[in-house]
Amino acid sequence: MQARERLPAKGERILSLRGVTKRFGAVSALTDIELDIHAGEVVALVGDNGAGKSTLVKVLAGVHQPTAGSIEYMGRPVTLDSPAKALEMGIATVFQDLALCENLDVVANLFLGHELSPWRLDEVQMEVRAWTLLKELAARIPSVREPIASLSGGQRQTVAIARSLLLDPRIIMLDEPTAALGVAQTAEVLNLIERVRDRGLGVIIISHNMEDVRAVADRIVVLRLGRNNGVFTPETSNQDLVAAITGATENSVSRRQGRLAAEAGGTTA
């Protein structure tokens, strides 16, 4: 709680991971991960499918407990043993699987666990805030009183993103936030990330879209098969980044590009 009080200065290290390891039975999802997050910085976490990105985010969100390793938050070692604790400390997360309650409506999901006036829910205020938030994210939701079950994939994702903003966090972690979003909504989310960064928050964003990553990230951390595989800047060429992700310069992407180029050459020739 106390950690929450102090707004970190820009550039200060908020979070630091040392040797974090997570094993699920015989599978090692994360091995000796090192990571630092500073205030006012956007860190992109990239990697192949199953590289362990979401597992890392879940460890930081208090969903999974690491098998080994230490986490420091604002300079103090912490154990994140429940999502409630992480939220309380100011770590907000948008999970890849969204984690919404399908039986509740949009408003209820947005404010879940942090309702206005707990003993006499202020539905009107909550609805107003819901509409304004969603509008900010360019969401096209027919009604905020429909259960989440009836929303489209992108609409759900927008709700999940909107929710993380309500908590006034210190760090915000977005696990593939734009995967299901339309072009307009993606643009708004990228805007939002920049706004949030400028307010001095630390941001971790996971994405497979290198263009988006390069557009907002200050640092790009690559994971491969559960291990650190280098830190890059947005200026790194696409080819180098893809090589770091797939672990080889000769990969599916380069092969496809080569083939397309050859075909194009063939037709023009």
Partner: protein, 414 residues
């Protein structure tokens, strides 16, 4: 958002949604919901009306005011237990021991109050506290050891039954004094006519009052609001219905105080479930436990509250049934109490899988069950026929609801 139309309110910007506030709109809205099966409690009420019609055709005594008064007395005891069941079902859990728990509470009243001379309020508090404690045990087994509630409460069912027999000892049953307030409450007390008429006005009044204040707030906040006419119409219909029912009951003995208590508890639970953070968390945990946990909800505390509430209400139901019978006996809480309490909640529309339910489901469900049982007692039937008919009628009462829900699913609402 270039298509925004500044004249529309915040929540009506979407062109795909049809809104209509006129009376004709209300009717179309209703037929729409009729067709899509999104009718809430209506189907159960229709089922109830169906049953009543048949029974009163077979024996007009069924609708005699005093018979209905008896019906209400009988509803209250198991109904209170069923309220607690709604809470655990809402989380997708179950409590099989509510019957035994009510039996234990009833035995405690007899043993403490009549035999040991403890004062009545103290005995009641002791029984309720025991209920709360047992609920806490279930919750702990669930939260710490992950023991399925089906198994822990099945163990509880047996252990508590043993305890009940044990504290009653060889006597087997204890009479409660007829002249006492408790027995009067359980058998005789009727709300004074003026009070019941007044209470009958209350729901309508509250509806209008709350409706108006919400309407004001919504318009102020730039949201669309329910049209005044529809609100007043609803409130008027409700009030007329209630006052009519009260008038009819007063042709007989009147409205039992015990039933009043049951409704009061249902109102409180309903408020808790729909208008507080606790209730929201209950729905969330029942709908998606992991999502609720990730939202920072203390999931364990929610389970604790539900199990404790359920056992405590079961204990209260046991006290009421002791009052109703004027006796604490070995039989209290055995037999159909468990199944009836759970069935009432399910019939009223609470899902066994969690995340869907309401306090009113217990009220409606128990009325359906008791109406069937009461209606059949008015017919001269052999036991075998009685069983068969009870089963059949129960199925019919629920088929209406199932049909409606079926249509909802086919309309894509899972």
């Amino acid at each position: 958002m270039t298509t925004d139309n500044d004249k529309t309110t915040l929540d009506r910007a979407d062109a795909r949604v049809r809104h209509d506030d006129s009376l004709k709109g209300a009717i179309r809205d209703f037929t729409d919901r009729l067709r899509s099966g999104d009718l809430g409690m209506l189907p159960v009420i229709v089922g109830l009306v169906l049953i009543s019609t048949v029974f009163s055709a077979l024996n007009p005594v069924f609708l005699a005011p005093n018979n209905l008064v008896n019906l209400l007395f009988d509803c209250a005891t198991v109904g209170v237990i069923s309220l607690g069941i709604v809470c655990v079902l809402m989380l997708g859990e179950i409590d099989l021991s509510v019957g035994s728990m009510s039996g234990l509470a009833s035995a405690m009243i007899g043993v403490l109050w009549v035999n040991a001379g403890v004062s009545l309020p103290l005995a009641i508090v002791a029984a309720l506290a025991t209920g709360a404690m047992i609920g806490a045990v279930y919750a702990t087994l669930y939260n710490r050891l992950g023991m399925p509630s089906f198994v822990s409460t099945l163990s509880g069912l047996l252990a508590i039954l043993g305890l009940q027999l044990y504290i009653l000892g060889p006597t087997g049953s204890i009479n409660l004094p007829f002249a006492s307030a408790l027995v009067g409450f359980g058998q005789l007390w009727i709300l004074p006519a003026w009070l019941s008429y007044l209470l009958g006005l209350l729901p309508g009044a509250v509806m209008v009052w709350v409706g108006l204040s919400v309407m004001r707030q919504r318009t102020a906040a730039g949201l669309s609001a329910q049209p005044l006419g529809r609100l007043v119409l609803k409130a008027a219909a409700l009030t007329v219905g209630l006052e009519g029912a009260i008038y009819y009951l007063h042709l007989g003995r009147g409205v039992p105080v015990m039933f009043g208590l049951f409704v009061l508890l249902a109102v409180i639970l309903n408020y808790g479930l729909t208008r507080t953070q606790w209730g929201r968390s209950m729905f969330a945990v029942g709908g998606n436990r992991e999502a609720a946990r990730r939202s920072g909800i203390n999931v364990r505390r929610i389970y604790l509250s539900a199990f404790m509430l359920c056992s405590t209400l079961a204990a209260l139901g046991g006290i009421l049934s002791a009052a109703r019978l004027a006796s604490s006996s070995q039989q209290a809480g055995t037999g159909d109490v468990n199944l009836n309490a759970i069935a009432a909640a399910v019939i009223g529309g609470t899902s066994l899988f969690g995340g869907r339910g309401s306090a009113w489901s217990a009220v409606l469900g128990i009325i359906v069950i008791q109406a069937i049982s009461n209606g059949l007692t008015l017919l001269n039937l052999s036991s075998s026929l009685r069983y068969m008919i009870t089963g059949g009628v129960l199925a019919i009462a629920v088929i209406v609801d199932s049909l409606a829900r079926q249509s909802r699913v086919s309309h894509g609402r899972g």
